[in-house]
Symmetry: C2
Subunit: 320 residues, 2 copies
DNA sequence: ACTCTTGCCCAAAACGTTTTGGGTGATTAC
DNA sequence: GTAATCACCCAAAACGTTTTGGGCAAGAGT
């Protein structure tokens, strides 16, 4: 048995001739090692778990405007397979109905954890390795994360708006206390203070969709010193915002420049199409899986930027 | 040990007081049964696997136009969790690099298997329960499937086109030999013969995207007795087709009525928007998971229609 | 001639559950 | 008063691997 195990796993020392014989016989007998038994003994099942946190607050896996997450999940799954792991899609594992197999995963990827995320607490007490996509702001010393280079992306967008004639740029963020919202806002504030400008920050819940975007538009319309550009993190907000402004005769891009922080169906298909940052979830997902696998192999974790994003300039932020 | 096992799983006969004491103690000690050990003994891991077959032929998990599958995966995942299972996303498990944990799943869902799908062969020789979404046409007697009610949907679409003035309807199908393509075509032929019409069937590879749609448009433009309506199964084809026709002055819906067989980003956002059948992947996914779980529980499998689709009428098929 | 490696193989223990097959004392049936 | 039935609990086996700790030749070093 030992020899077979070694021959098939490539671990111990087995004569090449013996290994060949074992492998051949195994094929002939259609023998495949039982992954569960092997998992029990070696304490390694070969499964990664993916928890898309923002979807736990939405009414579950709606497709519209959340294609970011679906692209992420698909790419993560393929990447996991390439590393020899299966990928299990989970929702919040702190919920009592969670199947016990959830915690049997070898490691977790948590996207956009909330501040002091209880999911992370659970995994840490269980001793399960994890990696977050986007920092947990309540754990500044926690080091296993990967995220877009938000500072760079924010500055790039703001620079673009300025170059296209914006005199005063507002930012519209979501209300979730996650790394993306907070760092984007911080970078924006920094940029404003460099220019001696008063920051203008509008917030709407992520879940509010285009209606939330309309509410932002409403707010802007009511302002005496209305800004002439908005960097709106959520694609759905951006679309709603643009629609609301248009209804009151404030045109994009003529009267208002607009950029969305995350590309989505809505930003691509509005009229005019909305400039947006493609956060390249595929790139991020592959990086996250690779980092987690490395961590499972014993290497120490370390936070890093996984993508600089791809800024797609469309009609909403360029005047001809 | 037996008593604890029984108390926690609710299986054997345990005095209520004992059970309470066990549960309480378990909580105090933060004891959780090890899913892998339990899986080894009981031969039931608590994981379902999902193989989205059409994505194995695409260049892997592209989001555009395949939101059907992503909606399916999300809904399947949630539904699996509700049934106490985790859901593992896999690509073709017959590939040699497949992690061995793939075959440790308790059951498989295979969407749109190809004819005589080798994945099904593999699972059957391994004795792993499976359910297909869309029949495998090479296995007429195989009974564990669920699929949209293609016949009903096709007739509904054709009826709608006829009602809106179509005199001659063509169908544009994909080239994959899967149940959707074949049954749609069969229903279409039947409908034609009922009317004594000559069927006109155009085929393009699914992977060709909007370019394939343009090719269909090209073909139509070259025809002397051009039909005045097209039922185009793939949303991306429909969008490309409409764009190509428009370039040659053939307007939709004025000169050509158009309906897509599967709703997607492209059909929603074309100008005019394209009428389409929403195949309700969420409904199908939930039905598939429920049926598979039932099958795992020992009940016999039986094929059935999972959804009648939701026909969304838009501008491309209605003349004012 | 003797130890010491080295290369290879093997028996047995271990992983943490579930299941099997009793076992015990209390209640009921005759 | 004995047997039968229950309700409950328990010891030990079993699931299919990996890992541990030798063991046995053959060659190398002295």
């Amino acid at each position: 048995m030992t020899t077979v195990s070694h021959a098939l796993s490539g671990k111990g020392i087995v004569a090449e001739s013996t290994r060949a014989r074992v492998i051949d016989t195994a094929r002939r007998l259609r023998y495949r090692p039982n992954a569960v038994a092997s998992g029990l003994r070696s304490n390694r099942l070969g499964i990664l778990a993916l928890v898309l946190r923002p979807l736990d607050t939405l009414e579950s896996f709606q497709p519209e405007g959340v294609d970011y997450f679906l692209r992420f999940a698909g790419a993560a799954s393929l990447s996991a397979l390439e590393h020899g792991y299966g990928l299990m899609l989970l929702s919040d594992p702190t919920l009592p109905e969670t199947p016990s197999v959830a915690l049997a995963a070898d490691g977790f990827i948590i996207t956009e954890p909330v501040e002091n995320d209880p999911v992370i607490d659970l995994l840490q007490t269980e001793g399960i390795p994890l990696l977050t996509v986007g920092k947990d702001l309540g754990r500044p010393s926690y080091d296993a994360w990967i995220e877009p280079n938000t500072a760079k992306i924010t500055r790039q967008v703001l620079h673009h708006l300025e170059e296209n004639g914006a005199r005063r740029v507002a930012i519209a963020v979501g209300t979730d206390r996650n790394s993306w919202n907070i760092s984007s806002e911080a970078s924006y504030r920094e940029w404003c203070s460099e220019r001696g400008q008063e920051p203008l920050i509008l917030a709407q819940r992520e879940t509010s969709g285009t209606a939330g975007g309309r509410a932002i538009g409403e707010e802007l319309l009511g302002m005496a010193d209305r800004p002439d550009a908005v960097y709106c993190l959520t694609g759905r907000h951006a679309a709603g915002l643009m629609a609301r402004l248009a209804e009151s005769g404030v045109g994009t891009p003529d009267d208002m420049l607009l950029v969305a922080g995350s590309d989505s169906e809505q930003t691509r298909n509005s009229v005019p199409p909305i400039s947006a940052v493609d956060l390249e979830p595929e790139v991020l997902a592959r990086a996250a899986v690779a980092a987690l696998v490395k961590q499972l192999g014993g290497e120490p974790a370390s936070g890093q930027a996984g993508t600089d994003g791809r800024f797609i300039i469309r009609g909403s932020s360029t005047r001809l």
